[in-house]
Point group: C2
Chain length 887, copies 2
């Protein structure tokens, strides 16, 4: 009958669930059960399993929110039973004025989604039980404060009344009484306030507040179940690529109170520092407060280190609990606790989120501490986060114009322009700008704007505030609790001790120091942290995929080598064409009236390209260099706006009209699908011939200088084997000529990009002509979906919001479509050319899920921009390890 | 040792080859052998097999034109032997002045390619043999005329000297002697002319004319072999989709002479009329002339009917031979004959090319005559030709401005603008105009220009001239032999008895009457010929594929029904949006500033669309109607040029600037891959909702009127099952509302276009949401290749010329890429939804090869524009028959 169990009790040192049951009990529920079994003090309660949520979601989607079948059979009975056991365990009863049981009702899915779903505290209060609580504790202020909090929270979460309606009343009451903190309101005023809150509920909903605690309980349970599919939660799951969960569990747990006086309190704490990984507790507590006060960031709490001073015994007990938990879970824990009249209760433990830097340090330390082995360490680090470690940080030597200091809430350096609300941030980002979101405090509603920003600056909140947590997780910079800052919404500006910065003006945030600067602070390159070097050396021993880089300049190539790139996977020769000293000759080549003029312009470009290639070969000594022949349509090189056109016409000695006409002649309806790539190479043989000559002359020169060169010449955008064949023969003829002239031979390979669906579908034929394949997943994705990347803005956001697509297909390989074409190409290409070298050079191949796919497809390498090389090294190792132990 | 036979002898009533060996002997060679075996008088000779040409092509491509291995082993010996047998059979010897053997050397591939490859006549002549021939025949004029003709032909074809160089001399000689016809030049003058020709050869080639007949023979054989790969021949094969041949055979045959006096002559003749199919010989002859004179159209010959008067005995013999040939081959024959001093020789027979009208009549007549059965008749008709029968012809009642009369050489009506050379015709066609090519005479060099023209008008030539033959075959109109016409190349004009028409001005050709009119004569619809009705009824009994039509207007739909369409495969609703009374509301809808304005504009459009659909349902009573929801991007409906924009802005009451901005906002980088199709439907739900409502309201109204409706609602451009799912649910909601309002239910289906590669690749999922698929092969081809149809002009011609692509992929389904995706979609779609209805609505699916593919894929239907419906009915039957007997 275990299959039918929907409710799992925990309490009295024993629980029906355990940590391994996250899928069913959610992370929070599973860990409450686990902690209970470990003997750690946890208030008793029960968890309603995720299967109930799954049932609820399906039933309400079908039959509407009032569907009579929305709860699975037996749920009411099981909740009733569990409630009775809870009442026995804590010896209090729901609705009993003599010893009233108050409970919290919290969500908790298998994957943590902080702040996304709903929570209700103090459930069980009504006039009678509040009076009872007051009598029992001898603390009417506490009792009435709890009641008015409950009214507000339930009113908001379950009944859907805006919080501001309640907040206004609270502020009015504080003004009336001349107090600064709500903790200073007296019991009688709080009782009056509760009456005012009840009136708000009546006005807003047309009916009185539900005073029956059981009705309250079911209302709260249902609100939590429903919150699984609220907009924020859906967006969060999409942003974090969370899929395949049944739903949220609902945890109903006896309340303990941190707001029973100065010997009470509440806090959150990490067992190690989630920013740096340092091995010391990192957290905050608030005396005489409930947990929500800490998380919401409304009041600024004390650092956890100060708990020793405030409550030494509790601090010792807490330290011991944290050690126990870390040893048990063998990972850094993120806990919530409450102190009720000197007694410590753990309300939650979970693996703590951390910055890349912390993840690295914790993994390395735990290997050294013998808690985990290297492979487990490798699997624990989120590969995508590594990139943030390597990006430039503020130049320490640069002069800085300090505006203010706040709390260093998420490390890193961010410079951008001020955005005062999330919508503005989204708009700015869409315009290609880099916004810094500046807010009094952030809330889950701001998530979209946060994702669009490079960093967050908040007036309120500490290191565990919403902004801080989200920032660390998204790898963004955050300075919180910057009290010196004042936002003027109407003026669209923010002032720091009187210095006014307007929305759209530049500021810089140092999230490690907690400093805010005016203007854009210059950056310097970061080195590779020592922990990372160690982790990557473990990774390199375990990966099968080679990692190359997409880089066009010697500078990028050097950077990539430093980060461990094993060759170039894509050198876009056209980027070299845009350089200032060349673009004129490129334009002359395009506008040539006859072959002679064209050859003349190309002859000028030849030594320049040769120089580029020589440089590349030298930097990549001993590694393969994949050089792509010219790809973009010629009109991309011509000026389109009238002023530049006039200037260029003068410079080139042609009439403006002639130039305009030529640009118009070359313009295309759909340039993405037009006269570009190898099509250009076929109709303009002299361009590819020049490039081939430049590559091989440079290769000969490099070899003469003792460099080991491995040039791979790549034909772009093929869609038929015959294209590759025709070009290959032409290129080979050039090679023969160059080698004869130089009296030297250099071995090279000729291959092609696979970036049209047809190239993938005819791979068996193309492999007869091509010595290697490289997947260009950007174009392949564009053509497979029929999505122009430049034009998706009109519909892709709607697609992601409605869940038509789970993910932007340009951010990772779409396995069903693009991935299937890749599989066809690899399998069939290798059928006609066994051992065919295959790589991928589209940036969408760079996320860890795509790397796992590439590993499974048995590609030879993936190629990424230099800063993503370490990510790929780690992800490739994780792919190899996951193959060993699936999951 | 048969495998090693490279040369096949025929003569003395016996031949080593036979008609079935076309692959090896070419059509001409196989039929010469067959005729010899039938006892028909054929001059003896031998055929060098196509395997020699294949060997020659490969060897010269590899080793250059002088490769020592260019002939297969044993060829020289076998030719030598065959030559000896030929000499014995005719009792003359090559180079023997006493009884000189003259031979013709002609090409002949398995598929006829008239005029494409080279021919040499009178080979074997030199000074000695010419003297000998003069002595033997007692006709020095004939001998020297033959020699000078040979010098010119050999000089041009084998030695590559432009014909004009010789022609100029000939004309000069005629002027000198004051004669009009070359036949009037005397022997001595012809001898001098021969000397002048020899001088031209020396001057042009730097060496004397080869006087050794064996050297002449090998030179001619090699020229024929080499002509297989000349540019014209390659183009011809591409135009006619001729693939997989080994090469041309070379026929060496004893010459007989039609230019031995007035009891000699030459002619070409069809056993039935190739224009109308009428059962009477159709051809021409020229007295005292060689065959080239007829085919080249330089002299205008007499109709074959007049042969009876000229040479009654020969005419009787010819009539008997033609009957024998037709009974033997069971098809209409196209023969060449020569009369040498009253004796008839057949030089060639082959199945005659014919117009669609003739093909139909001949097929039907032969069934009635018991020569062939219905299935053979169906397989014999070229389905692509049928379309020409159905297009409108000149209105008989319309006033016409007759310019001149010529020979009705290829039937039909064509109106267009005058083009005086092929290049101009190509250019005009590229500009979207319809050229009529006007020339003194056409030659194979003009082919490209002819393919671009709607009709040809020539001053010279008869019904079997180059222009006439090509026209009938291409289904174009031709008026030849229009002597009243004079072309002024410098003035770029043509005058008809003094009336001048400039290049670029309009004329009209009636190819059935042989009349030329000034201006554009209005046309009327053609009925369906009775023969076609009969043939299509045979076809309908044998085909499995249903045939639908792509039609958007009631007029098109009526036409398509008349042509036998079994429903609508694609109704593009956007075409309705462009109508004059609607476009304003469409623009208002697009430019709406809020939902209300948008709904208002849509409400105006609703009854209009409903009216359209009602009309369609009524016309297609009882047949399925596939209606595609709005597909093109919204900016297509907005004005782009400043004047229209100003007018529209005023009409709509918005500022010009606002309109310009909106157009700019909506413009896209790659509109083909942009915000269109179902993406538009998803982001603008109200548009599809309006369309769905209009369709179903119309359906309800139609049903109320007793019409049987079968609406299929098609979602365009899907790339994921979820798109179809989301839209399907929205559309079903509209349907439920409409049915409730109307208190009526109409059954309908919702399906999707498969036109992105991803839709094909995820067909198994899409089929869960879609009740039918329809392949949009235009877009599917664009995305599979990455070719924008609007932009291929820059490279596709080069691709076709170099053979990178064998065929324009938009003209028929590309089997390797697009076809493979279609196969995946059909197989996997039907795996999740057995019996899934699948059709194709891209025009590229309309050629017979594609229809064969669709038949084999087991599609339910193909859908084409109305005029192509009969073609498809026939092609579908042919597909079914070919399945029964492959090949």
């Amino acid at each position: 009958m275990t299959n039918d169990r929907l409710v799992f009790f925990f309490g009295n040192g024993k629980a029906e669930g355990k940590a391994a049951q996250k899928e069913l009990l959610g992370g929070k529920g599973a860990n409450l059960a686990e902690m209970t079994n470990m003997g750690i003090p946890v208030p008793p309660g029960f968890t309603i399993s995720t299967r109930v949520c799954h049932h609820y979601s399906l039933a309400t989607a079908e039959g509407g929110p009032d569907s009579p079948d929305r709860f699975p059979d037996g749920l009411q009975e099981q909740v009733g039973e569990a409630l009775e056991r809870l009442e026995e365990a804590i010896r209090r009863r729901l609705g009993d004025p003599g010893a009233p049981l108050l409970v919290s009702v919290r969500s908790g899915a298998a994957v943590s989604m902080p702040g996304m779903m709903d929570t209700i505290l103090n459930l069980g209060l009504n006039h009678e039980t509040t009076e009872g609580l007051a009598a029992e504790t001898g603390n009417p202020r506490f009792a009435w404060d709890s009641f008015r909090r409950f009214l507000q929270m339930y009113g908001n979460v379950v009944l859907g009344i805006p919080s501001e309606r309640f907040e206004k009343r609270l502020k009015a009451a504080m003004r009336e009484c001349g107090v600064e903190r709500d903790a200073d309101l007296e019991a009688s005023r709080l009782e009056t306030l509760a009456g005012e809150y009840e009136a708000i509920v009546l006005e807003e909903t047309g009916r009185g507040f539900p005073m029956d605690p059981k009705a309250q309980l079911w209302g709260a349970v249902e609100a939590v179940l429903g919150s699984w599919n609220n907009e924020r939660a859906i967006l969060y799951r999409r942003l974090h690529d969370i899929q395949g969960l049944l739903g949220t569990a609902v945890n109903v747990q006896a309340m303990v109170f941190g707001n029973q006086g100065e010997d009470s309190g509440t806090g959150v704490c990490f067992t190690r520092d989630p920013s740096t990984g340092e091995r010391k507790p990192y957290g905050e507590f608030l005396r005489n407060a409930q947990g929500e006060d800490v998380v919401a960031g409304v009041r600024t709490p004390q650092p956890i280190a100060e708990l020793h001073q405030a409550m030494p015994e509790v601090a010792d007990r807490l330290a011991k609990v944290m050690r126990t938990l870390e040893e048990h879970y063998r990972d850094m824990q993120d806990i919530e606790f409450t102190i009720q009249k000197g007694e410590l209760f753990l309300l939650q433990t979970r693996n703590g989120k951390r910055t890349a830097r912390a993840a690295l340090k914790i993994a390395v330390d735990m290997v050294d501490e013998g808690l985990i082995d290297e492979e487990e360490a490798l699997l624990r680090i989120d590969a995508t986060q590594l990139e943030q470690l390597l990006h430039p940080s503020f130049d320490k030597e640069a002069p800085k114009d300090l505006l203010a200091r706040g709390i260093p809430a998420s490390p890193g350096s961010a410079a951008g322009i001020v955005a005062l609300d999330p919508d503005t941030a989204v708009r700015m980002a869409a315009e290609g700008k880099t916004p810094i979101l500046v807010r009094n405090e952030t809330s889950p509603e701001d998530l979209k704007g946060m994702a669009s920003s490079a960093g967050f600056l908040t007036m309120r909140g500490g290191k565990t505030s919403h902004a801080a947590v989200v920032a660390r997780q998204m790898g963004k910079v955050c300075v919180s609790g910057c009290g010196a800052m004042q936002i003027d919404e109407e003026d669209r500006s923010v002032s720091f001790d009187g210095r006014r910065i307007r929305e759209g003006e530049e500021i810089s945030l140092d999230g490690s120091l907690g400093e805010v600067y005016a203007g854009r602070v210059p950056t310097v390159e970061a080195g590779i942290p020592e922990d990372l070097t160690r982790v990557l050396s473990w990774a390199d021993r375990r990966r099968r995929l080679k990692i190359r880089t997409n880089a066009d300049t010697p500078k990028d190539n050097r950077k990539a080598r430093e980060f461990g790139a094993e060759g170039i996977g894509l050198c876009r020769t056209e980027h070299m064409f845009f350089e200032e000293d060349r673009i004129l000759h490129v334009r002359k080549m395009i506008l040539a009236r006859n072959d002679e003029e064209r050859r003349e312009a190309l002859a000028t470009l030849l030594p320049m390209q040769r120089g580029d290639f020589l440089d590349i070969f030298e930097v990549m000594d001993g590694f393969p260099c994949n050089i792509r022949l010219l790809d973009p349509p010629l009109h991309e090189f011509l000026p389109h706006d009238p002023e530049t056109r006039a200037a260029v016409a003068e410079e080139m000695g042609v009439s403006e009209e002639e130039l305009r006409q030529r640009v118009a002649d070359l313009s295309e309806s759909n340039p993405m699908l037009g006269h570009r790539g190898c099509r250009l190479g076929i109709t303009h043989p002299e361009i590819y011939e020049m490039q081939m000559r430049a590559i091989l002359e440079a290769a000969c020169e490099a070899v003469a200088g003792g460099v080991h060169v491995l040039p791979e010449i790549m034909i772009p955008l093929s869609s038929a084997a015959s294209e590759v064949g025709v070009l290959r023969r032409r290129l080979e003829a050039v090679a023969a000529k160059v080698f004869e002239e130089k009296r030297k031979r250099v071995s090279y390979q000729i291959g092609t990009m696979i970036e049209t669906p047809r190239a993938a579908l005819t791979a068996s034929e193309i492999a007869l002509e091509a010595e290697f394949f490289s997947f260009g997943t950007n174009d392949l994705t564009q053509m497979t979906f029929g999505f122009s990347r430049d034009d998706v803005a009109g519909f892709l956001p709607a697609y992601l919001e409605t869940g038509i697509l789970e993910r932007d297909p340009f951010e990772g390989i779409d396995l069903k479509g693009v991935g299937r074409l890749m599989r066809i190409a690899v399998e069939e290409g290798r059928k006609t050319r066994p051992g065919l070298k295959v790589g991928i050079c589209g940036e969408s191949g760079g996320d860890p899920a795509s790397i796992l796919f590439c590993h499974r497809l048995e590609l030879d390498y993936v190629s990424l921009s230099p800063y993503r090389v370490p990510t790929a090294r780690l992800a490739a190792a994780q792919a190899a390890l996951r193959e060993k132990k699936p999951g």
